[in-house]
């Protein structure tokens, strides 16, 4: 019974192994050669082993028996070799995939990639490097890269490479290099690679052609310096002209005063003189002179105010700033104290909520808030009790302050013009002013890296939103 069962098993086994060999033969093109032959070997060994067994069970003594024992020993060895070969195969495949991936990255990028030995000789150059310098990889490898560097940049490049032996073992620099396309500006980032003994084994550098950027930067720097010069010229012109305009204006006002006095004296003389037919003719002329003098005086006064305003505006640009954390609530309290009279006269309620501290110049920012609160007081709605509310909060590293009033508001068509110099909403109105307050506010905020915007609805009121850099840390109030 056992023998029949065993023979059946052996036959089945024979069938399986034969099928296996056929299967392998079919799939051989999908397997690597070494794995295919190892598998074939394993299956062959099993076949041979069991052919021997069949002979043994059938009572046939065969010369193959002694080989059967030997092949039995080979079976596990082949299994081990198979697994080892599979592991090696997988490892090789992984390396190939990884290499292909990195090769794809290096070969298809526009940035330059190089590898240098510690003496600066090229060990590897990316295709982008060979394209830029118009040489083949063979010509470049083993050569120093320094000869192509501009003479003035060579020393700096050497010094930067020396830095690689010290932490953080990396450096970044710009250099001019002579390429196929002429002199180009290259930005390099180098990193040292160390061997097991801690010595620099090689240097890996990535570079980028920044010629266009460098040219644009040069142009920008030149333009900025030109602009700065022009700005200074304009500033001094503004200052000098407004300053120089004051002298003739003083003369005009002084002599018109003299003339007015003379006219008064003449009037007195005429009133005391004997009646004369010409006296009647002179009196109206004196009145006309008086009127003309009034207009000259008013005009000169206005001109004086305007010159003062221009001087004030021009001085903002030249003021030295002392940037420090500012306690805004205390600062606004001191402003409202100085405006106490106007606030009381207008019956306005001023509410100051908790305000975040900002980093700015105290004097300049006081001027900003003073102008804004004064404006709010000037343009209150007589129909209702005035209210000014000052609130603030932090937003994205900035402080935002809201100065809200319930005044007359500003029409949408005027909202974009109110920051213009000498612009007044109602020049004929009762509210006096030169139209400089908000221009000064805008100019100061521009200097303080701040900004201002307006939300307003006619008849309801306005909100000026001032944004300033927040204080780095909370200051003690």
């Amino acid at each position: 019974m056992n023998i029949i069962l065993l023979l059946t098993l052996i036959s089945l086994f024979f069938v399986f192994l034969s099928t296996g060999i056929v299967l392998l033969w079919k799939y051989q093109r999908y397997l690597s050669a070494d794995i295919f032959f190892i598998l074939l070997g394993i299956l062959g060994l099993f076949l041979f082993d069991h052919i021997c067994n069949i002979f043994e069970w059938s009572g046939m003594k065969s010369e193959m028996d002694m080989y059967g024992d030997f092949f039995q020993i080979l079976q596990p060895m082949f299994l081990g070799i198979l697994v080892y070969a599979l592991l090696q195969h997988r490892l090789r495949r992984q390396i190939l995939i990884s290499e292909a991936k990195y090769r794809l990255l290096v070969e298809n990028q526009n940035d330059l990639v190089i590898k240098l030995d510690p003496d600066g000789h090229l060990l590897f150059v990316s295709p982008s490097y060979t394209r830029l310098f118009g040489s083949t990889e063979k010509e470049l490898l083993g050569q120093s890269f320094l000869p192509v560097v501009h003479k003035d940049d060579q020393e700096m490049t050497r010094k930067e490479i020396e830095k690689l032996s010290r932490p953080p073992y990396a450096c970044q620099f710009r250099q001019r290099a002579h390429t196929k396309f002429g002199w180009r500006h290259l930005a390099w980032a180098y990193r040292a690679i160390f061997n097991e003994s801690g010595k620099i084994h090689s240097i890996v550098g990535t570079g980028r052609d920044i010629t266009d950027q460098a040219q644009a930067e040069e142009e920008r720097t030149a333009l900025l310096s030109k602009l700065e010069t022009k700005n200074k010229e304009l500033q001094s012109l503004l200052y000098i002209s407004s300053h120089d305009l004051q002298s003739p204006l003083v003369n005009i006002r002084g002599f018109s005063g003299e003339l007015k006095n003379t006219c008064e004296q003449l009037k007195d003389m005429l009133s005391n003189a004997a009646p004369d037919p010409d006296k009647k003719k002179i009196a109206p002329l004196l009145d006309e002179i008086d009127q003309a003098l009034y207009f000259i005086d008013t005009g000169a006064e206005k001109m004086q105010d305007l010159i003062d305003g221009i001087l004030k505006l021009s001085r903002i640009g030249s003021v030295e700033l002392t940037i420090q954390p500012i306690n805004m609530k205390a600062m606004i309290h001191s402003i409202t104290e100085t405006l106490h009279f106007q606030i009381q006269q207008s019956g306005t309620e001023v509410v100051i909520e908790e305000l975040p501290e900002c980093n700015t110049d105290l004097y300049q920012i006081s001027q900003v808030f003073s102008n804004l609160i004064e404006n709010a007081l000037k343009f209150l709605d007589p129909a209702r009790p005035g209210q000014i509310r000052i609130t603030g909060h932090k937003k994205d590293g900035q402080c935002e302050y809201h100065i809200t009033d319930n005044g007359i508001g500003i029409k949408p068509e005027h909202q974009s013009k109110i920051f213009e110099i000498f612009h007044r909403l109602n020049p004929e109105g009762s509210v006096k002013g030169l139209g400089l307050g908000l221009s000064i506010v805008l100019r100061i905020l521009d200097k303080l890296d701040g900004s201002i915007r307006l939300l307003s609805e006619p008849g309801k009121g306005s909100t000026f939103i001032v944004t300033l850099p927040a204080a780095p840390k909370e200051v003690a109030s």
Partner: protein, 91 residues
């Protein structure tokens, strides 16, 4: 009684088993590794039964030996089919 070649085969198989264990992290990434490991375990069982049949229940262990080698061959063939079939599908 045991035969020398059977013991040598068992020792080599155990050695290969140690190699399998020490490389298990890599082996688990091989395609159809479960079939491969199972087939090896069946082969290990076969070598154990071969040695043991010299001492205990010769008929039973002999039958088990042949059953395990039969199962080994089935599993191993399945594994062969799996790797070839997968690659053919990929193509």
């Amino acid at each position: 009684m045991f035969e020398k070649n059977e013991v040598i085969t068992l020792l080599i198989t155990v050695g290969i088993g140690i190699f399998f264990w020490s490389n298990r992290k890599s082996i688990i990434h091989l395609h159809a590794c479960k079939l491969l490991i199972l087939s090896f375990l069946l082969y290990l069982a076969r070598t154990c039964f071969t040695v043991l049949e010299g001492y205990l229940w010769p008929n039973t262990l002999n039958l088990l030996e042949h059953l395990s080698i039969l199962l080994f061959s089935i599993v191993f063939l399945l594994w062969c089919w799996q790797i070839g079939y997968r690659k053919e599908k990929k193509q």
